[in-house]
């Protein structure tokens, strides 16, 4: 960080709210990994843990927003301090949504492990989730270290996640066309893949917040977009 505030309580407030972001980030990283592992290992207990754990993530998001509102009311932050408070509010929102996606994956896992063979796709989904989790870890590290380069790298890596999603989308489509009995599991698996792809978008937003926090400007380049599934047509 730069110099200290003359009012040291202001520094403590800002540090406290950032510590909460890191705590929340830790819970969300675990939720991503656990939800993917629960699917791959068909572990209903672990899936249940992920579903139950979302309440703690939501609670932290609420607390961060309340604390940020209090800092705004009491300290009237300006410039970099204002951007910091705005960024923690937005990042809390991003993390909260990632947590929701993990919970949704855990819910679908509960359905899938009752009689559907998912071993083939589950490994690919876990690799995709692992990639997003690493991106989130780097996004949070770049946030704490105010590392704009690392944040830009995270944003670029979202392309790989999009490409993994494209591949899975085509695969699920093929399975469903082969045999209508595949439709139920493939629909669930597709939503899981889409959830992970959306997680990547939220991680990208977190990295953009860091760039805004440090530079005062939003990244100029368009986000890399490699999710092409919205234009795919299937010949019947």
């Amino acid at each position: 960080m730069v110099e200290q505030h003359i009012t040291s309580a202001f520094d403590r407030d800002l540090e406290a709210v950032q510590a909460q972001i890191m705590k929340m980030g830790g819970l969300v990283e675990a939720a991503i990994i656990d939800s993917a592992r629960a699917l791959e290992t068909r572990d209903e207990e672990l899936a249940q843990k992920v579903r139950a754990g979302d309440a703690a993530i939501d609670g932290l998001a609420e607390m961060i927003n309340e604390d940020a509102a209090r800092v705004i009311a009491i300290r009237a932050p300006a410039a970099v301090d204002l951007r910091l408070v705005l960024s923690v509010m937005k990042i809390a929102g991003n993390l909260e949504r990632i947590g929701d996606y993990a919970k949704n994956i855990a819910k679908r896992t509960g359905v899938l492990i009752q009689g559907h063979d998912t071993s083939e796709s589950a490994a690919a989904l876990r690799r995709m989730a692992r990639e997003v989790e690493l991106m989130l870890k780097d996004a949070l590290d770049s946030y704490i270290q105010r590392d704009v380069e690392l944040a830009a790298d995270v944003i670029a890596r979202d392309t790989e996640v999009d490409q993994m999603y494209n591949a899975l989308f085509r695969e699920f489509l093929t399975h469903m066309m082969e045999d209508p009995r595949n439709i139920t599991p493939c629909m669930h698996l597709h939503f899981i893949a889409k959830n992970i792809e959306r997680m990547g978008d939220h991680v990208t937003s977190i990295s953009e917040e860091l760039i805004y926090l440090v530079t005062g400007n939003r990244p100029e380049d368009e986000r890399p977009k490699a999710d092409t599934t919205s234009s795919i047509q299937q010949e019947v």
Binding site: V2, E3, Q4, H5, I6, T7, F10, A76, P77, A78, A79, V80, D81, L82, R83, G216, N217
Partner: protein, 265 residues
């Protein structure tokens, strides 16, 4: 005042009211203002901020030659009001101050009636031909300073008997009675309670329609609330000058950043 519009309002193109070029001010051997260049726009509130002793009040006082009253004070460079050098020998400082009015930190009404406080300027500058016209100017000025309703029944009462906030608004009425083109305000709210402060800020925003307002303030929040342009002074230098919205969200100079975020710098 809608702060959401602060950024937008600064985008309007404005004509330059006061242009300062390479202004230096010395008090004896002390170099108080160093090579300041700034353009004060018409119909704009410009805030001067900076730590104590940074030169913001000194520079403000250059704009209507109040520093002439200090013997050891020397001003170099050009200050142009509508393109005319105000330090030209032919300029009468008294006439200049009718055009460039000033409101001070402490309300300083004359020890006279409320009416006389406001009518004094128009009378000595011959702005009214008769009593009716003078009364009209007094009422108009008091109305514009948002104090008419409170004092209309006691115009003969001494101005010093009013509350602090009322006295300051009376002083503003006095300053605008001569129809100045620029209003300089040196910490106009520092002796006022929050309600009187809000009234004065509301007034400043209204005055902007007719005048250029330059305000020196130690309250960063006040600068952010009332101004469209902000100038940050530090150790006699004009460090940064720009749209208020930008100065308070993303200042360019680290010294500005340190100051407005309350850091030691």
């Amino acid at each position: 005042m809608n702060t959401m519009n602060v950024m937008d309002r600064t985008l309007e193109t404005k004509t330059t009211k006061i242009a300062a070029r390479d202004v230096n001010v010395y008090y004896g051997d002390t170099h108080a203002i160093k090579d300041v260049n700034v353009k004060i726009e018409a119909n704009t509130v410009t805030a001067f901020i900076g730590p104590s002793g940074c030169g913001k009040s000194t520079f403000l006082r250059c704009l209507n030659r109040m520093n002439d009253t200090i013997d050891i004070c020397r001003v170099t460079g050009d200050i142009l009001l509508d393109g005319e050098d105000i330090y030209d020998k032919r300029v009468d400082p008294v006439q200049l101050r009718a055009k460039v009015g000033m409101v001070f930190q402490k309300p300083n009404p004359f020890p006279k009636s409320i009416f006389d406080n406001v009518s004094y300027g128009p009378r000595i500058h011959g702005l009214a031909r008769n009593k009716a016209e003078l009364e009209e100017i007094v009422e108009k000025s008091l109305r514009r300073a948002a104090i008419w309703e409170e004092v209309k029944d006691r115009l003969d009462a001494p101005g010093t008997g009013l509350s602090g906030g009322q006295q300051q608004r009376l002083c503003i009425a006095r300053a605008i009675a001569t129809e100045p083109e620029v209003l300089l305000m040196d910490e106009p709210c520092s002796a006022l309670d929050p309600i009187a402060t809000a009234q004065v800020e509301e007034l400043i925003d209204e005055l902007r329609a007719s005048y250029s307002v330059v305000i020196v303030t130690h309250s960063m929040q006040q600068a952010a609330r009332v101004s469209q342009k902000t100038a940050f002074f530090h150790l006699g230098n004009l460090v940064e000058f720009g749209p208020t919205g930008q100065i308070f969200t993303n200042p360019e100079d680290p010294r500005t950043e340190s100051y407005i975020t309350g850091r030691i710098g």
